[in-house]
């Protein structure tokens, strides 16, 4: 048994505390250096661990983004993934989760046709869009079983994966028939840093670039044209009013004043 794991990674701004561009009403990210979405480190690490668990397995990273997004594929290779695909082209610009997940699902299908895919891994959410939905939407387009919020892949064989999904009130155990989609959370592992060997491989790596045509999609199905929703305008959250300082000579006095405030504001 050998697995083919696909891991979806995104290039996001390294600093997401950005202003709104008054001209466009959209976040001003120009000039902010891009980086690997931090939560995707866990998905990459899990792909590499699955490779270690099941010898002979391969892992492929996929990203939808601009030319510069190739760097996150390189980062994935440096961390132990075997190769990557850059889904890129002007037609993908301005896509939302709906359009991006369609593009990702088409890329996964194409990879699946080349070499059957066992698992597709995702990060919990992105630091910019941050819907935490792209993984589940990709599964929906593929019509593959999926679990998001996965804290452990308990078992995996040729036909299925058993996963632990962290719920609000406990942990579900689910058995997914392969191929399947898994959305990871931070608890799943502790990402390792790129190895020297990985960095060397990353330097040499060449990534195929697929546009809508290669994916068998119309330009109108992806990017802004294919988006199901659009951000009309962005704003900074309203500033909070200045705080009240609770003062007192002793802890008991401070405690008394604080409790007065909490009761007065009907908070307790």
């Amino acid at each position: 048994m050998a697995l083919h794991i696909v891991v979806c990674v995104k290039s996001t701004p390294s600093n997401v505390n950005v202003p709104v561009d008054p001209a466009t009403g959209q976040p001003k990210t120009a000039g902010v250096p891009p980086t690997l979405n931090p939560y995707d480190e866990f998905a990459i690490e899990e792909a590499v661990r699955l490779k270690e668990r099941v010898p002979g397995s391969t892992a492929t990273a996929v990203t939808v983004g601009g030319e510069a997004a190739a760097e996150v594929l390189r980062e994935a290779v440096a961390r132990g993934v075997d190769g990557g695909v850059l889904v890129s082209g002007a037609e993908f610009e301005g896509g939302d989760g709906f359009a991006t997940s369609l593009a990702l699902s088409s890329a996964v299908k194409k990879l699946h046709a080349e070499k059957p895919v066992s698992l597709v891994l995702f990060g919990k959410n992105t630091s910019d869009g941050g819907s935490g939905m792209v993984g589940a939407e990709t599964a929906a387009w593929l019509d593959w079983p999926s679990a998001i919020g996965v804290k452990k892949i308990d078992a995996v064989d040729d036909a299925s994966a058993t996963v632990s999904r962290m719920m609000e009130d406990g942990v579900d155990s689910l058995k997914l028939a392969l191929p399947a989609v898994v959305g990871t959370i931070k608890e799943i592992n502790e990402p390792r840093l790129p190895s020297l060997k990985g960095k060397m491989a990353a330097k040499k790596a060449v990534f195929p670039k697929w546009g809508a045509a290669e994916l068998g999609l119309q330009a109108g199905q992806v990017g802004a044209a294919g988006a199901g929703a659009k951000v009309v305008k962005a704003a900074t959250p309203p500033a909070r009013p200045a705080g009240v300082k609770v003062e007192g000579a002793s802890s008991a006095e401070k405690a008394k004043k604080l409790v007065d405030i909490l009761i007065e504001r009907k908070l307790i």
């Binding site: 630091s127 593959w144 951000v231």
Partner: protein, 325 residues
Amino acid sequence: MANPILVVAVPSRGKLSPAVYELVSAGRKLADSLKQPLYAVVTSDKASALAPDLAARGVDKVFAVEHASLGAPVDDLHAKAAASVATKENASRVLVPATVLGKAVAARLAVLLKAGLAADVTEILDGGLVRRAYFSGNLVAEVEFKTPVGVMTLAPMSFPRAEAGNKGEVVTVAFDPGASKCAFVSFAAEESNEVDLGAAERVVSGGRGLGGPEGFKHVRDLAHAIGAAVGASRAAVDAGWIPYRHQVGLTGRAVRPKLYVAVGISGQIQHLAGMSSSGTIVAINTDPACPLMQMANVTVTGDYNELLPAITDEIKKRKGSPVAA
């Protein structure tokens, strides 16, 4: 023809969660603003037993899709069941709770209904636009659907819970969602009688400033005294002082309680992303200059070792003699 607003009441362990009542009040607002009726669909093995509760909270029509397989928290089955009603009734907006299962169901609904999706909506604006936080909580977006149908998940604690209202009709629907490629094996409940973070009206969180796992005893004591859930910063979780499920922030849970008490937490942006929309934020910290003390509504400067027991005592005292308050 009507294009109703449809609340998808995905039950949790055979019950309706309070999040569903929040969807009803949000749905009512949207329905009134778009001049459409408000419908709900309950997808459960006990749907017909659960539906009357929603019908009594001002939902015009509740569809009970009951099937044995809907007793399991399997996303595609619930999505198919809800989609069958959404399609038949020509729903224009579909509201789903932003729980782990709800998110998975919403994603499948979006694809089944070829609908745009807005996640973790916190506000419904006139004209049907919605607001959600993004860029890790640094920005809020006004989102417009481009598709005829829009699916949205609603962030917990963002809308009031619908109370009793006009009594609506209950319609039982026969629907077999078929087989799933996902099998539910088992559920292990969290061993604790603590309040769930996501649905908590009050949260007391501890950070690295607690200095060790013992510090959480003081945090728990205060939390119990005011009926709060216990939260934590990532630093406290990473140190192994408390399990990950308590983590608040970007890589943890997002909370929106009426009262958030942060103890020994400096307030780095990743933590703020999970709690900055709380109603009232109280910070207890030795450092009055740290970011959390700067943004909090009420601040107490000092050592938690002394302050927390004093606060807990004071609360117990007042509870004991309400006249003194």
